[in-house]
């Protein structure tokens, strides 16, 4: 089966998602970090076996890891590989807010087109925050 059995995240690639493959990998690592499936200090799979497993170009994996590193999500330790970092964003509070607002705006526009009203939208946000906190707690307890 998998060539990285100790890794708790199963990457999935969808060429029809309309999102570059390397960004799909970036999102999945960020999601795993937010939900606690990946903990600070956890290693990421090395490039070659992951590329072979997903049957994608190794440039794609390298690009995803470079992006995660520039976002401060992972760090590379020479000769050892890539590891998930403590959650310290390298950006200032202002920049962090601006980045988040862009994402929120997209959800707001989506909600408008799906006819989801303000109260329902806010309730959904609260529900998702609870969901992630619960998942992170569960994984934390399991350690």
């Amino acid at each position: 089966m998998g060539q990285y059995p100790n890794f708790r995240v199963i990457f999935q690639i969808d060429f029809k998602a309309g999102k570059p493959v390397y960004l799909q990998l970036v999102d999945q690592v960020r999601y795993a970090a937010a939900s606690g499936a990946l903990q600070p200090g956890d290693p990421l799979p090395s490039i070659r076996p992951l590329a072979e497993e997903l049957r994608v170009n190794r440039n794609t994996i390298a690009k995803a890891y470079a992006e995660l590193e520039s976002q401060g999500v992972i760090e590379t330790i020479p000769g050892k590989g890539c590891f998930l970092k403590e959650n310290h964003s390298p950006f200032s509070k202002q920049v962090r807010h601006r980045l988040l607002i862009t994402e929120i705006d997209e959800a707001v526009v989506m909600a408008h087109h799906l006819q989801v009203d303000r109260d329902k939208f806010l309730a959904l946000v609260a529900e998702r925050l609870d969901h992630f906190e619960r998942k992170a707690r569960e994984t934390g307890d399991g350690k």
Binding site: F15, K16, N57, R58
Partner: protein, 302 residues
Amino acid sequence: MNTNPPIIELKNLTRRYGALDAVSGLNLTVQPGRCYGFFGRNGAGKTTTIKCLLNLLQPSSGSLRVFGLDPQKHEVEVKSRLAYVPDVVAFYPWMTVNDALEYFASFRKHWNREIEADLLRRFQLDPRKKTTALSKGQKTQLALISAICPEPELLVLDEPTSGLDPIVRREFIETVIGAYQSSDPERRTVFVSTHLISEFEGLIDEFTIIAQGKELLSMEADQARDRFRKIRVRLPEAAPEINLDDALVVRRSGREAEILANGNGDALLEKLRAHQPEQLHVEALSLEEIFVASEALKKAET
């Protein structure tokens, strides 16, 4: 940024067979470290182009450079730096697997024995077996081993997986990603001609589609998947007729429509949303679907 010459550079390449232009004014550039897809229907001119790269055929006009060199003038140097896996492979019938590998190795300055042993094990090829006793899949595997062991700067694959079973195809691609690209990825370039595009989807950085010897579309794979999108929509009963002339392809059936967008997906979506569709679904086209859609592109041009 990059001072090295491109690995492959075709300028206005033309190759005629009598009155027929098999390749007609083709331009194409492959940078080092890329995996470049070369797609086209049978007879589109793919193999003719590849034969020109290998100096098995000479261009009628235009220019052709491999590693910055003219393959006609520097045939030995060009060939010593690349390896080629054709769609049909043949070996001398009296040779065993081991004989064949030794024979190929004798032409090469460098031969990685470790990779050789590794791949023989992985493919479960018996070195003592006669090459005539190998299945089609095993022959391709042997050709792939002999192409990868010299660790060439350029790997040229011409329809390498056609006619193979799915497991062998999968292993073939994993081997190209793993064994070939593992060391020094900047100096490992792949040029693959295929119409089994979906299998190579993850590997392709950039591609050219050719039709009737001419370039139809050249793009980065990610860009292409962003530009070509399929929209499925179901409109409410009362919706008026919407003008979708700017879509690449439209298929309608009553209130439902399937629309292919060529770079104007957002504008089309906006237009459709204005009619409060009951369902609206967007997805990127896979490279294979883009290849199929390129037929429509050709029609739109003429």
